[in-house]
Each structure stands twice: as C-alpha cells, then as structure tokens.
Symmetry: C2
C-alpha cells in the first residue's frame, strides 16, 4: 500500500472488519472514524488551494464527491484492499458493500497514528489523489444518486417525482427542501443549501429507504 | 485571541462576514469551510485518545456535541468574537444567528494557513477545549434538539409525536427512521444509526422547517 509501518498493530487493526470481531479495540471502526476526519481535513485543504476563486459551496460539493462512500470504495478496491482485508467471506453481502472504502479510511487513521499529520497528508495527496482521483471527471460529473434513482424508476416502471416542497431563509442562508414522491406516495425529503444538494440528499435517503443496491 | 499572527491578512479575512462583502476572496466563508475540517480532525483525535474503549458511535456523537453550531457559537462569544467581528450591524438578525461560531471556524482556518496543523491543534486543545468545553457536562447532557422541540410544542399547545417509522439493515448496520408528526401532519423524517440519533436528526430538521428559533 506504499507505507512503511513503524507500529504494525495499527495497520492490522485497520484491515480487520467487525464481522471478524465485535471488539472495539480490535476491529477497524474506531480507526475509520479517525481516518475519515483526517481525510476530510486533507481534502478540504487540497481543494481550498486548488480552487482559490471558488466559493465554499463548490468546495464542499467537490469534497463530498471525492470522499463519497462509492468513490472511496472504488479507490480502495483499485488499491487492492479486497485481498488485504480480514472479513467474514461467508457473508456474501459484505463483498458488495462499502467495507473496503471504510477500511481505506481506517488505514488512513492508522497512518496518522503511526506517522502524524504531515506524512498522512503526503500519502493522501501522492498515493490516493494522484493515482486514483480524476478531478476533471468529477468536475464534469453530475449528481450520481439522483441519476441512479431515476434510472431505477425507469427500469422498474415506477412513477417518480422530485418536488420542490419548500425554501426558507435561516440565518441568512437559503435552505431548500425536495420531496421524492414514488407512485404518488411521499418517500422522503432532502434538504440542502442548493436545490441540487437537496435533490441529491433526497435521492440518497430514498435509495436507502427503498433498499436499492449498487447495480440495480 | 491568543495567537501570534505571521500573516495578518488571514485573520482579517476570518473576521469579515459576508454581509460586508460578497467577494469569496475577502469574506470568511472559504476559511470557514477549511477551519471546520481542521477542527473536525483535531476533535476526532482528541476524543479517540480520550476515550480508548468507546465505539465510533459514541465518539461521533460527542464530536457532534462539541462542534455543533450552538456550541461553537457560544464558545466564540465567550472568546470575544462579537467585538472582533466585522459584519453588518444594521441587520438585527445576524447578532442572534451563528455567525460568531462560523467565524471561529474561519479563525481556525486562518491559524492553520498561518501556522500549520500542529500549532493549530495545540491552539484548539489548549485555548478552545481547555477553557470552553466541559466534557463532563457534555457526557451528561441529553439530546437537546429533541427536548427543545418537545418544550416548544408544550408551550404552544401543539400535538407532537415521534414515531419509529422504519428500521433497515444496510451493509450490516441498522438504520433507524423516526417521523415527526405535528397535529397529525407528517413534518419530517430523521435517520440515524441509533434511535436516539434518528430522533435528534428529525428534531433538527423539524426545528428548521418550523422556523423555531433559539429561545422560543
């Protein structure tokens, strides 16, 4: 994975999924929480410096795309996390879930504990971003989750609507509300500081609620 | 504020609210985005080390309490951000909003650009956490937003219900859905990895939707 380990125990914990052990101090969930925060900070700075003229809405959105569960999971698989990880292979659902992306976050947490912030930042920028993130593509890429639920509805001949249900101004910022209506039934409402963001959030919640999987 | 400035421009930008200038490169919104991420990483590590036996759900919840808009806004006011800030004082709503907490995040972004990660971490731990965060109190503190909307409903003689609407298992983790029903009308749904978290999220969304302010 391109890291020299000083303390191997951190990395072993990072690749140990909770399907192997429920023990907090042995599985990778605490490290995932830590790595997620470190990754968020590094990507925030990277985009801040990369796009000096863009507003915080743009930066937040770009960051969400890079660190989304799907994106991290793909990166983790490209980096070989599947072969490395220790998880219950009898559970067939796990392989199609996001455990590899989560473990990549844990792995970042391990690097941080082992080597500190600056080296972790260097690792994220030079190994992960440089080799696995295509900014140009992300800039062009639309909102995937909204597209995904629309495709699903078309394929399954369901009637799907995104309705603007409300817009309020709170502390000087507009907040948008988008309802998702499926076959005339209200499924969920997404909120966000832009209509796009609210629509994407609504789609995300609806995909979970309707239990729509990756490739369906 | 307890920081020696190398580059004063960062700090001036950090205390300049968008009501003074809409310009991205002059107001504090980009720095707020950066500072929020740095603060999140520092607090994540602080709690990770402070509570070595707690699971990631507990750590995430504690972090949310520390970096919540209300909490940061109170801290910022205690630190004197009101006197320091440059905002449109004719807009009476701004003083009761969260602009001070937001500016504190911007200020953290400024320290980071000026002094790097390690010094910013030291500042957050030794100036902000040590003087302004009472962990014992946060540990005892219940879920404020749920309490808040319940108090509001009682005071205003409205009929309020929190209903468990659903529970699903996604990638091996349970996700809970809590509906808020006000006078028999569905207001919003909150989701979370625990019932408590889902209830709190639902309350948060409902407070925004119903436009319930701080002291009402």
């Amino acid at each position: 994975m391109g890291v020299k380990a000083k303390n191997v125990a951190y990395y072993i914990q990072a690749i140990t999924h909770s399907s192997i052990t429920e023990d907090n101090e042995s599985n990778n969930e605490r490290l995932e929480y830590l790595g997620d925060a470190i990754l968020g900070a590094v990507i925030a700075e990277y985009l801040y410096l990369k796009f000096p003229n863009k507003n915080e809405g743009f930066l937040t959105e770009m960051r969400s795309k890079i660190v989304s569960r799907n994106s991290l999971n793909e990166i983790a698989k490209e980096m070989g996390m599947l072969a490395l990880m220790n998880f219950n292979e009898a559970d067939k659902n796990l392989k199609s879930s996001h455990i590899f992306g989560n473990a990549l976050e844990s792995f970042i947490g391990a690097i941080y504990l082992d080597h500190g912030y600056e080296k972790t930042k260097k690792y994220i920028l030079q190994v992960i971003i440089k080799n696995h993130v295509n900014l140009t593509e992300l800039l062009q890429q639309g909102y995937n989750l909204k597209n995904k639920i629309i495709s699903w509805a078309q394929k399954n001949k369901r009637e799907l609507d995104f309705n603007d249900s409300d817009c309020q101004t709170v502390n000087g910022r507009k907040i948008f509300y988008i309802d998702i209506i499926l076959d005339k039934v209200h499924i969920t409402t997404g909120t966000g500081y832009t209509k796009k963001e609210a629509g994407e959030k609504a789609a995300e919640l609806a995909l979970i609620k309707l239990n729509i999987k990756e490739d369906s």
